[in-house]
């Protein structure tokens, strides 16, 4: 857990610096936009952009400190994430992103079927006979729970509208 693992990967220091720089860039954006909106002290109190502008200032300062702290950090080179861990994380992140994108087009219930089936097959190695009841049963359960019991509408797609939902 402390980052000492085999396999190459981005170093903790590099990622630390990158994130600090990214936060710094975000801070500049915040400061710029709020300066445009008006960050001065009007006669009746602060303008709309006043508070967020100075938040941006503090953000920039702290990002700078973090950046330099990371830059000047001595000690053994620690890995942020090695290639094996990275692959494991991507193994759930990418399918999740696909699931979300899919839910937009075909509705969340059908997307869940595909998502569950994919996971059980590729990472779990189950047979179709075991995958089918779970990959279909869970979304059906959610459908009954949300659409029918709680009456909370979730994104649906062409299949559901075919059935009149």
């Amino acid at each position: 857990m402390d980052g000492e693992s085999e396999g190459g990967g981005a170093s903790q220091r590099a990622v630390d610096m990158f994130v600090a720089a990214a936060i710094g860039a975000l801070a500049v954006l915040v400061m710029y936009d709020n300066y445009q909106t008006g960050a001065k002290w009007a006669s009746d109190g602060p303008q709309a952009g006043y508070f967020p502008f100075y938040i941006g200032v503090l953000m920039l300062i702290s990002a700078g400190v973090n950046f330099f702290n990371a830059l000047l950090k001595k000690g053994p080179r620690r890995i942020f994430v090695d290639s094996q861990q990275f692959r494991s994380v991507l193994a759930i992140l990418v399918p999740s992103a696909v699931f979300v994108a899919g839910a937009y087009f075909i509705g969340i219930y059908i997307a869940t079927v595909a998502f569950l089936a994919y996971f059980m097959r590729v990472l779990g190695g189950y047979r179709a006979a075991i995958i089918a009841p779970i990959a279909i049963g869970v979304p059906v359960f959610f459908f009954l729970l949300f659409e029918i019991w709680f009456l909370v509408p979730l994104p649906k797609g062409p299949v559901e509208s075919y059935f009149g939902f």
Binding site: D16, A27, D33, S62, Q85, I92, L93, I108, L116, V152
Partner: protein
């Protein structure tokens, strides 16, 4: 004090309706489930279920949500002890002695000790709340905008000054939270801030989405790093074991009491359940006769963190209800819920919404008792759930999080945002950026800003309003002291080197 007891009994009448008892029961079960599953934590779980409660009467809704909270507090211990996987951040310290106990075959004792200690800690905290809350509420009636801002400022300073993460990372995280809170429509001037022409951003960023992403998806990504298996010790628990353990526990009354007090303090001054559990463990290790054996399976090593964590988790509700300052991320979510229901936390809540407040407090007592019973009897089931392979339960958790994110505003963009926050949460956790200040700033940002601006209007632009009277001045002074404490204690260490 008599008024408090009267109000409390009235609260019990509210809480003991069939409907509310049902929600209590459901809440606890859901809570334990949430506490047991990784990726669905206390804050996250409450955030997901919050929109489902919109159609319920507020009193029932908050009873259910707070019971989910207790359930999660209990549930985190189950995975810590049986699987050495803390189900919640505040159960990390429980793994130190709990898992060794389980490996020796004493899982039943560990679990009983953990649950009972949780119950004791929470119970003491609820008693504290019962008597302290009305006092604080009356006191808070004297608060004007400058005082409210000062208290919020104190909260933020204490996060920076007392965090174990590097202060500038805490500051960065907090500022990000504030910036996110500021996006959207400014209610005072009606201007749009930082929307960059995107219509969807007029609404601003919702803290619920951030919480589900940061704490939920982020947690799952972290769990995936370790690989996919949960192999754990067997969790047998029966009446005899429970009784034996209960006979053993009174020996540790000092640890329990100390843990509860640490917890109450950390919950009220926003520190939260996690630091409380570590602090209590550390102190118990130092002060106990068996201190040297901590880490090998000492019952006391389970009692200490659990009492503190639950006392903190419970007492975090005190400042939330009376001052509108949440003492923990989950309390922050509950605070958000109150605001959504149109209930303004603060001193007026105790005056205008007596039923609600005292019903909630009464349900805390009941919820704890019911929770203890439920959790003692259902341990084998929870252990069984964790045997469901991650390849099945992982995606299900992601789907639940997605549903939770969607139901907040029925906006599909929110699900994508949730994923983004998930990646951020994962990266931040690995880089030692604390998430709690981010969430706190996101929830309180608007309130803090409006308190600041109202103060400015009252004082007509003069910042000296924050030192205008003894109360607000001393709060601001304390805030600045805590903020600069790390620097000060550093200096002190150099000027006066300690002996030995």
């Amino acid at each position: 004090m008599v008024e408090s007891l009267e109000a409390l009994f009235h609260g019990f009448a509210v809480a003991l309706t069939l409907q509310n008892m049902f929600f209590m029961f459901v809440g606890i079960l859901l809570g334990v489930l949430i506490g047991v599953l990784p990726g669905l934590g206390g804050a996250n779980g409450v955030a997901i279920l919050l929109p489902l409660t919109f159609s319920m009467p507020p009193t029932s809704a908050i009873i259910m949500l707070s019971c989910i909270y207790w359930g999660a507090l209990f549930g985190g211990a189950i995975t810590s002890i049986l699987f050495n996987i803390p189900g919640e951040p505040w159960s990390v310290a429980t793994t130190f002695d709990g898992y060794p106990m389980a490996r020796e075959g004493r899982a039943g004792q560990a679990l009983t000790a953990a649950f009972t200690s949780s119950f004791v800690g929470a119970f003491i905290a609820v008693v504290v709340i019962t008597f302290l809350a009305p006092v604080v509420a009356k006191f808070a009636l004297q608060f004007g905008p400058p005082e409210f801002f000062a208290v919020q400022f104190l909260t933020f300073c204490s996060f920076i000054g007392m965090s174990k993460e590097p202060p500038f990372k805490t500051l960065a995280a907090m500022m990000i939270g504030f910036a996110l809170a500021a996006v959207g429509l400014d209610t005072v001037t009606g201007q749009l801030r930082m929307t960059f022409g995107m219509g969807e951003l007029i609404r601003g960023f919702d803290f619920l989405i951030a919480v589900i992403g940061l704490f939920g998806i982020g947690e799952i990504l972290l769990t995936m790093e370790e690989g996919l298996s949960f192999k754990g010790a067997a969790g047998k628990i029966n009446a005899k074991v429970v009784w034996e353990t209960w006979k053993e526990l009174p020996r540790y009354w000092a640890t329990s009491l100390r843990g509860s007090l640490i917890g109450c303090w950390m919950g009220i001054t926003p520190g939260g359940a996690t630091p409380a559990s570590f602090m209590s463990y550390g102190m118990a290790k130092r002060f106990s006769k068996n201190g040297a054996k901590f880490g090998t399976g000492q019952t006391e090593g389970v009692v200490a963190p659990e009492t503190a964590a639950h006392a903190a988790g419970t007492s975090a509700l005190l400042p939330m209800l009376t001052l509108g300052i949440p003492g923990s991320p989950t309390a922050a979510v509950l605070l958000g819920g109150l605001l959504i229901w149109g209930l303004q936390p603060g001193p007026l809540l105790f005056v205008e919404q007596k039923d609600f407040v005292w019903g909630l407090i009464a349900s805390m007592y009941l919820g704890n008792i019911v929770g203890l019973i439920i959790v003692l009897t259902t341990v084998p089931w929870w252990a069984a759930i964790l045997r469901i392979p991650f390849s099945v339960i992982g995606p299900i958790i992601v789907v639940i999080c997605a549903i939770g994110a969607y139901t907040v505003h029925n906006a599909f963009l929110d699900i994508a945002l949730m994923l983004f926050f998930g990646v951020v949460g994962y990266a931040f956790k690995k880089l030692n950026y604390p998430l709690a200040p981010l969430v706190l700033a996101l929830v309180l940002g608007d309130m803090a800003e409006s308190a600041f601006r109202q103060s400015m209007i009252i004082s007509q632009g003069s910042v000296s309003v924050f030192w205008s009277n003894g109360l607000v001045g001393s709060i601001m002074g304390l805030a600045l002291l805590i903020l600069f404490w790390p620097i000060l204690s550093n200096l002190k260490g150099r000027l006066m080197p300690s002996r030995g």
